[in-house]
Symmetry: D2
């Protein structure tokens, strides 16, 4: 596990704003740990859609999640504006490991950080396949 | 049911930006009908927190939902930036009916609209009680 | 609005068990109002899948939600086992109105009840179309 | 990372049934990766509530999640009945690491598995504290 103190805004190349929701808070009054993973999904797919023309509705090759993890440093609660930072930690032939950091808007130290791994597969038969060229190029930019 | 064509940005007084999430889309590729209600909750509570100093963690009087409804006009999909408009449709001694409209950022006609009713209760015993003065004043502003 | 006291297990024909989740509870310690609508979706689609061979992944005609509402009578909290009751309140040529009641397992009086309306459309062009025969027959059974 | 083929029903001591929901499926027609973490939360807290009289509403010492991870082996889709298996992988003075496996009802090999770590803290000041005796005893049973 990386030391939490190293997780800084400068570790990420692409940022996506996320607004929190009432339902994000659980009975303890903080954003439920589960919800952070929905932020992860949102920022990575946003990047694919924005920079690689990825269309989740009809793309013939899609990324499926095979692993994810998150380390929680400090709690955040609704209402708050947050930003999810994205970087590429590892890029293989058929898979990619995203690194993601969760920040309060304008703050430098992460409240949570983690990874998730997309394996690219043919939508039809679920078989792993090479990362499409356009997506690979988009990953190279933030590697 | 109000005619859908009447639902316009000018019907609402307060707006709150909401960012969509990957998980908002269901298998049909559009934001799931359920998710709109989480936007409703988010904008109304945001208003209470911002304009009536409401603190959901420790407030002794809270608003509990006794009814809600939504009419869906046109589908929206992640990724999209939306805005939730808020107005007060009915204000009673212990309850309030919010009107909410869901808009794409910058568009004038609503994609969905609905209502929900908060009854204010003592957190301790769940008994209905008068709407607190500060909250009532905030409601008056957008009645 | 129907009187809450009339909402009884015998008003529904089909029941589907639903297990509650930690994340269903909001900061007030009860199942968030939004979550009830996910129970509604779950029981109605379950019925279509089970009794009308409906396949949400590849069906060429699908039901899209154009309206929904819910009235909340008494709060429920995780952990609890619940049952969602389903009936058909109105059956048209292209649309159906489901009635749904939410019960604690084994109890007779509803904790919440509501409706939602599916309009059936061609998946390709989103145009309303007649309810498919097999689905219509399934609806007739619980009309 | 443990080899996926080793993840078997017999690796877990306590099982909790979970019913899937329409909204669990994402645009790819399978349960979204995020949702598995809500199953994790649900089974672990269920165990605390059932076997250690834990009350999330008013407990003065609560478990907050500081890390979680999940490895996805095979996809599951709504509608399906699943079971979450729970074990204790590590038990410290103030923290516990749960191991969780997600199974289709009646099947022996896991579809997904992972961990999450609860640090026990005083609800008032969020400071780590010893695991309460009753909770510690419940953990010992499935260590």
């Amino acid at each position: 596990m990386e030391s939490a103190k190293l997780i800084h805004r400068s570790d990420y190349s692409y940022f996506h704003p996320i607004t929190t929701r009432w339902a994000d808070n659980d009975v303890y009054g903080h954003i439920n740990n589960v919800v952070y993973y929905s932020y992860f999904d949102t920022v990575a797919n946003q990047y694919l859609i924005e920079f690689a023309d990825f269309n989740p509705i009809n793309a013939s090759i899609i990324g499926v999640v095979v692993h994810s993890n998150c380390t929680y440093i400090k709690a955040i609660a609704y209402p708050n504006k947050i930003e999810a930072g994205l970087t590429i930690k590892k890029l293989g032939k058929t898979s990619v490991t995203y690194g993601i950091g969760i920040f309060k808007k304008g703050e430098k130290a992460a409240y949570a950080y983690g990874e998730f791994v997309h394996v690219f597969v043919n939508r039809k038969d679920n078989q792993p396949t090479s990362i499409p060229k356009k997506i690979n190029e988009a990953f190279q930019k933030i590697l």
